[in-house]
């Protein structure tokens, strides 16, 4: 697809939670053991009244501060599972807050860890059809607001944050192919029960995030290698042809096992979960931005993005960086 990732910015709330905070609330936790497995030593926590829309706005304003024009945007996609309201659509609120043109399309995509990939596919498709000319894709979540202080599975992992990505048409095929999929049979393994119209009671704390770590792990071990191989086949490429693999920053144990299973050289990966945590759909664009800042991305680099998780949902795509 002749669509370019033009710019990326992100916002992380300033409040940081580290081992000390976890230990204070849960003195029986073996924090060192947890950090050894998750690899995550810091998580960002949104303010009490700070929502995903607020964070998304701050990420987008960074894009505008660096010279990108808000009046050119005619498509806004907000990827979030932490909407301000059940209705109206949070993207509509964001359109107003960002003072985007009222001719701008705006809608939410309710996906988590695969969400950025899906949003790229949708935005790029609308650009290629001519329905849109400049897209703003914002990924933003406040999962920590759903997490119980004593939840040893979720609290050490999830972090709040937002990314903002600008997409525009270009003369090269620099996005795609894509491979995406769904297995709703796994819906119970990462869920906030009793949070919507379904009133049937589940044997899980109401309104609190529940994650079955081992089931999610087995899902990633099954699906992620398959989507990587499927995408490489679609693209007619091998692992050697890919310059950088950017995985959803689920945790150390997940990413290490994917890298091991696929025999991906470490030098072809970039991670930042250790200092940022798992920011759900924003994790992939945040890694891209950090990799760019660290000089890990060169023009024409082939980057594979792989997102996977809640739903179950997964998606992968290949991006050619700054084609020349």
């Amino acid at each position: 697809m002749k669509v370019l990732i033009e710019a990326i910015e992100y916002y992380l709330p300033p409040k940081i939670e580290d081992a000390g905070a976890l230990k204070k609330d849960n003195p029986d936790w073996q924090i060192e053991r947890i950090e050894e497995r998750t690899g995550i030593t810091k998580r960002h926590i949104s303010g009490f009244n700070q929502t995903a829309v607020d964070m998304g706005m701050l990420a987008a304003e960074k894009l505008f501060l660096s010279g990108n024009r808000r009046d050119e945007i005619d498509l806004l996609i907000l990827v979030t599972q932490s909407p301000d309201y059940k209705l109206p659509t949070s993207a509509c609120l964001l359109q107003n807050l960002l003072k985007l043109n009222t001719a701008c399309m705006a809608f939410d995509i309710n996906l988590g860890c695969s969400g950025f990939i899906y949003a790229l596919a949708v935005a790029a498709s609308l650009i290629e059809t001519g329905a849109a000319h400049k897209a703003l894709v914002i990924c933003s979540d406040t999962y920590t607001k759903y997490i119980d202080k004593a939840d040893r599975t979720c609290r050490p992992i999830f972090s709040d944050g937002a990314s903002a990505v600008l997409l525009k048409p270009c003369n090269h095929h620099c996005l795609g192919p894509f491979d995406m999929g769904t297995d709703g049979a796994g819906f119970l393994n990462l869920i906030v029960p009793s949070s919507g119209a379904r009133t049937k009671k589940l044997d899980k704390p109401k309104g609190k995030l529940f994650m079955d770590g081992p089931e999610l792990f087995m899902f990633t071990m099954d699906i992620v290698p398959k989507t990587i191989n499927a995408l490489l086949n679609k693209a007619g490429k091998t692992i050697e042809d890919i310059d950088l693999f950017v995985f959803h920053q689920a945790s150390k144990v997940v990413i290490d096992n994917i890298i091991r299973r696929m025999e991906i050289p470490r030098r072809k990966t970039f991670i930042n979960y250790h200092k940022i945590g798992n920011t759900v759909s924003a994790s992939i664009p945040i890694v891209l931005k950090d990799a760019e800042k660290k000089g890990r991305l060169k023009p024409n680099d082939k980057i594979m993005l792989v997102g996977f998780g809640v739903g179950y949902s997964w998606g992968s795509c290949i991006v050619q960086w700054r084609p020349r």
């Binding site: 053991r33 947890i34 497995r37 040893r152 599975t153 079955d212 770590g213 081992p214 089931e215 792990f217 087995m218 071990m221 099954d222 699906i223 290698p225 144990v253 096992n257 091991r260 299973r261």
Partner: protein, 81 residues
Amino acid sequence: MAKVAEKDILNIIQSALNLGNENITINSSISNTTEWDSLGHLSILTALDKFFKGKIGKIKGLAAADSVKKIIQILKNNQLI
């Protein structure tokens, strides 16, 4: 791959949980074994995935198999031992 025996699985779990002097037996489970908690269980699944060279990813029920007996039975059901 050479035929896998039940004792191989016990060794894998023992090593994954880094138990030192505490021995894993056929009766070991998440409820009676030090270090076998949710994190330990991930270590066991990782070790099994490495040992079986990626064949366990699609095995239903393995994630919830919280005892040696259950793990062995599931692996037998899937012709891995």
